[in-house]
Amino acid sequence: MATKSLKAKGNDLAVSNKQLEILNGGIFADGELPYFKDKIADIGHFPLRPKKLEILQINVGYMCNQVCEHCHVDAGPDRKEIMTRETMQQCLEVIKNTGAHTLDLTGGAPEMNPDFEWFVEEAAKAGIKDFIVRSNLTIIRANKKYYHLPDFFKKHNVHVISSMPHYTRGKTDKQRGDGVFDKSIKALQELNERGYGMPDSDLKLDLVYNPSGAYLPGDQAAMEKDFKKALKEDFNIDFHNLFAITNLPIARFLDYLIASENYEDYMYALVEAYNPSAVANVMCTNTISISWDGWLYDCDFNQMLDLKVASKVKHIKDYNEDILNDRNIIISQHCYGCTAGAGSSCQGTVA
């Protein structure tokens, strides 16, 4: 398990240019493996263009109470980047004037932003239909000041999407830290007590599964069945959907792949699993990702690689949907991760 962010450790990979150098060079440099750009050109999807905007994904800060082994954000307690209320207000202006129906809050632990609750309340007034918080679960039990969060979520009908690497303690704690499994179970039970995740409940509780290592996620439906059975039998926990998400070779996961000498095999696995039918629905086609400091990106992964949108409109303060939608989506070799197998997005499979 990681104990500090790459940034705090002064690791070379804390710099996005270094990551891009590895992704675009290395095993791809000799032409042995194809470029993602060529792959999608073969099926008429290059340049990749956005469709109607449906989801605004906002990263409200990189601060987190956990330091997960696979984190592509490189989040952790030492990360101080945090979205200000002023930037949140700029986001709210956009929310009022856009057709996006979903607001997807990420971090770090989004709940650690001091203006998190204010933002949730204001965004609800702005007419968002699906308000998602990507909660790591343990934050609900991390400190007394967060104990009320399940009630707060319920009051505002927040859609909770929570990370849960596995239904066993060993695998979860190895990826996310000692004690994370027990705290996550407790948090899920608390959410269940308030009606979250129950079969007929409108209080949506979904789980996210990321593989704990250098392999791709298995079949999402089969995994969901296994998770539901185990969590119900062992802890009487209910939830709605399981989203199986492929780990992309970015930040700490890239560092892990290189250190464990799995990078080459993993990239081959991603390329071999390339599924052309996943391309049309990759999440960057209907999502805009906004960073803590208001910059716009095609997706959360491009945000971490500091690949800002290829548009005159690059910041939330200058937001103009027509101009922004007339752009080419920036792609690179990490995009193989979103088109592997059944495809991968923050909402699970796409093919």
Partner: protein, 111 residues
Amino acid sequence: MANTYYDPADLRKFGKITEWSEELGTKFFDYYGKVFEEGALSAREKSLIALAVSHVVKCPYCIDAYTKDGLQKGITKEEMMEAVHVGAAIEGGATLVHGVQMMNKYNKLSM
């Protein structure tokens, strides 16, 4: 690096066997794919059987492939090791059960 009989990177080339015998290779992969589809047994159960057999036939490529496949399917290391023990028990039992033949022969030849 010293040459060895087994190179892990060769596993990626498995599909290339069709290049030297397309008809038979294709028939094999069609069959192989069909075998591992969800059926009366789940894909998860089949993966564990494949892992146990991989050890019994001592195929390093298969062990790598089905360890990874098990991880992808969310199978735990405890489940994987139990499967290996099932293979080992059958393999050991197959050796030991021939001990009956040895005992029969011994008894027949002894006064």
